[in-house]
Amino acid sequence: MSASIDTPAAAGRPAAAVPGKRPRGRLSENLLGWLLATPFVAVLAVFLLLPIALIFVVSFWETSAYSYGPAFILDNYGYLLTSSVTLSVYVKTLMFTALTWAITLLIGFTVAWFLAFHVRSLGVQISLFLLCTIPFWTSNIIRMISWIPFLGRNGIANSVLLDLGVIDAPLEWLLFSDFAVILAFVHLYTLFMIVPIFNTMMRIDRSLIEAARDAGASGFQVLRHVVLPLTLPGIMIGSIFVVTLVMGDFITVRFMSGGQSASVGRTIANEIALLQYPAASANAVILLVTVLLMVGVLMRFVDIRKEL
């Protein structure tokens, strides 16, 4: 029944409308809503839903030695779900995701906290915020690759440490290691945490904090019981960004691990490169399901639609 759709416009409507005219008015308003949504729905259908549906279909196709073609076989999934490679690759990818998420959250929350509550002047706040975005004016790849000469065996980091006498031999694990991968991820994606958290923090009514203080709350208590719950939607949005970006990444892992570590994205990229489209599709479907589940779990913590 169309009348049950709870659009904000309908909810805000006075209850005492003329009974006879109400359904017609609502109907056309609904119609208008659908019409307004149509272009967006069409774009999503053609450029999002259709490709995903195709990937799903291709994931059941068969691959022969040098070509692939339509079929309905479960081999692609069969191999994927029983292979030890899949398990180790997912464990690795989830490890990258969890660590990157925790570190970006810590840094992002701290930076946003500082910007929102410690910087008093709006001008300084905005300029400091813009400062955070400056690295993002260059390409993602450049920012990542610039770490390589810095962290290398004969790189700046090792030379400085050697000169200072902190170490006797170059640290090998700085580059082409999991450390390097996570460092690059944190560098690349922290801003995606800062922005939404800063945004929600700025909208917190300052009188709530004053009230908490008046009621005798310590700084930590204010953080724990006032700011954190009210910032949760921002944290969740930031988390969704970081989690989906890291789960789907292939290039950062390849460059920063020197090709030594695998991630789900890299496996898919390899399969595509080797024309194993059905296998790549099956892999992509499983990854999509995994990421959707993760986002679903995140959404359980907070009703973003209500909070926004």
Binding site: A65, Y66, S67, N154, G259, L274, L275
Partner: protein, 443 residues
């Protein structure tokens, strides 16, 4: 748009032509032969067939391939000599195979390797070439025709170029063993690959592929992460280490693949590898920065490291070389004037200028005799004959690669190409190999 102007060009070109084409298009061929002969005589190329020059200017040929031979200098020279436009796109080997197999409309000329040819030819996106329209066909090195460098050479393992070089007709799909007159790819360049080393950081002679996994170089070795080529390098290492003797390194059985990959996984777990590289510049950076002292490498990467003033040797090894070759294939979509332009381009390609250019970078050209005309005696001596340089050897891009007295790593053409142990290949168990390779990368 493009098709329109082309069909106009075609009709224009056909109607006013004074002499008509016979069924095999022989008018053009004799004309080209004359032009080519004139060219050789004068030593310069002056835009071969004049009658066609006007119409052919409108043609644009889209070529794609690996970075090694997709050079902007070549496109510029084509414009200058032949008048038409050649658009170049450089991709990595995997993407090249992918595009040749799946996007037939995105290219006119595919610059692919022979093992890629084996993989993508069955997809039916390429057309075979009539060798009677190739002026220099008789002078193409034997490797690409009957598989033998010299009459008594032994044919190496792997996807030897001649084995996928011919089909039985212009749209034939089965490879044939003899020189059928229909060539899949016109060979352009090839080379013999081996390990690159940093002699200054190693400090002792390296003679065997087995050294790649020598614990002495723990954390300082690298192998390329393009499975189809990496597995061959690994096979050279495994055989040199005495772990296994292959029936055919280019077409391993599942057991052979398992043994090879297990060897790699063991080495990886022991921390032997510093990194794996996928692109040319990655290999250069790994070597130049000293992250790696011994690794799979390609010849121009050695040159690039040397150009930075860093010692680097393309080490000849006693087990022989892993070799590769590339060629130009024509898209099935080519016909009419475009197809003629493509033949013209291929004849021009083999006529020497490109060959000289590539040979001065350290590759070999399919027709060395024509390339010789575009090289100085000293360059020819250094690059092809393995003689000591009599002066500075300068690359086509102006870098000094060798100076007086230097000798090319590995020596003369015959010595290098005569010691090929296997060709880059694609195996029947390709999919299994790829899965095992992924296990190695994920290990």
């Amino acid at each position: 748009m493009k098709r329109n102007t082309l069909s106009n060009a075609v009709s224009e070109s056909l109607s006013p032509a004074p002499d008509t084409l016979d069924t095999h298009g022989n008018r053009r061929r004799t004309l080209l032969k004359g032009a080519a002969a004139a060219t050789v005589a004068t030593g310069t190329i002056t835009g071969a067939p004049m009658i066609w020059a006007q119409n052919i200017k409108d043609v644009t040929l889209r070529q794609f391939g690996t970075g090694v031979s997709n050079l902007n200098d070549v496109a510029a020279k084509v414009k200058e000599d032949l008048g038409f436009t050649l658009e170049m796109t450089a991709l990595d080997s995997d993407s090249v195979a992918q595009r040749a197999a799946t996007q037939p409309n995105s290219f006119d000329i595919a610059d692919i390797e022979y093992w890629i040819c084996k993989k993508v030819w069955p997809a039916g996106n390429l057309q075979a070439m009539d060798t009677s329209r190739i002026d220099q066909y008789d002078n193409i090195v034997g490797i690409f025709r009957n598989g033998k460098l010299n009459p008594d050479s032994e044919i190496a393992q792997g996807t030897a170029p001649h084995s996928v070089g011919f089909v039985d007709g212009s749209d034939g799909t089965e490879f044939v063993d003899e020189e059928s007159g229909w060539m899949t790819l016109i060979p352009t360049i090839y080379n013999a690959d081996t390990l690159g080393i940093r002699p200054d950081l190693i400090g002792r002679p390296i003679e065997s592929w087995a050294e790649l996994l020598n614990p002495e170089f723990k954390g300082k070795a690298s192998i390329l992460d393009i499975s189809s080529i990496g597995i061959m390098d690994a096979a050279m290492v495994a055989e040199a280490s005495g772990i296994i003797t292959y029936g055919d390194k280019g077409n391993m059985t599942r057991e052979e693949i398992d043994t090879t990959i297990n060897m790699l996984i063991e080495a990886k777990r022991a921390g032997q590898f510093r990194a794996f590289w996928k692109s040319f510049d990655e290999s250069v950076n790994l070597m130049a920065s000293g992250e790696v002292v011994i690794q799979s490498m390609w010849s121009p990467a050695i040159t690039a490291v040397k150009a930075k003033g860093i010692e680097c040797v393309y080490q000849p090894l006693k087990e022989g070389y892993r070799s590769w070759g590339g060629g130009l294939g024509l898209s099935k979509n080519l016909s009419g004037l475009e197809l003629d332009a493509a033949y013209e381009y291929i004849n021009w390609y083999l006529s020497g200028w490109v060959g000289g250019y590539l040979m001065r970078q350290g590759y070999y050209s399919a027709v060395p005799t024509t390339s010789k005309e575009f090289m100085s005696a000293d360059e020819w001596g250094y690059w092809f004959e393995g003689k000591a340089a009599e002066g500075d050897i300068v690359s086509p891009t102006g870098q000094t690669i060798a100076s007086t007295g230097d000798v090319r790593d590995g020596g003369a053409f015959e010595e290098r190409m005569g010691r090929v142990a296997c060709w880059n290949a694609v195996m029947d168990e390709n999919q299994y190999m790829v899965r095992k390779w992924n296990e190695f990368i994920a290990a």
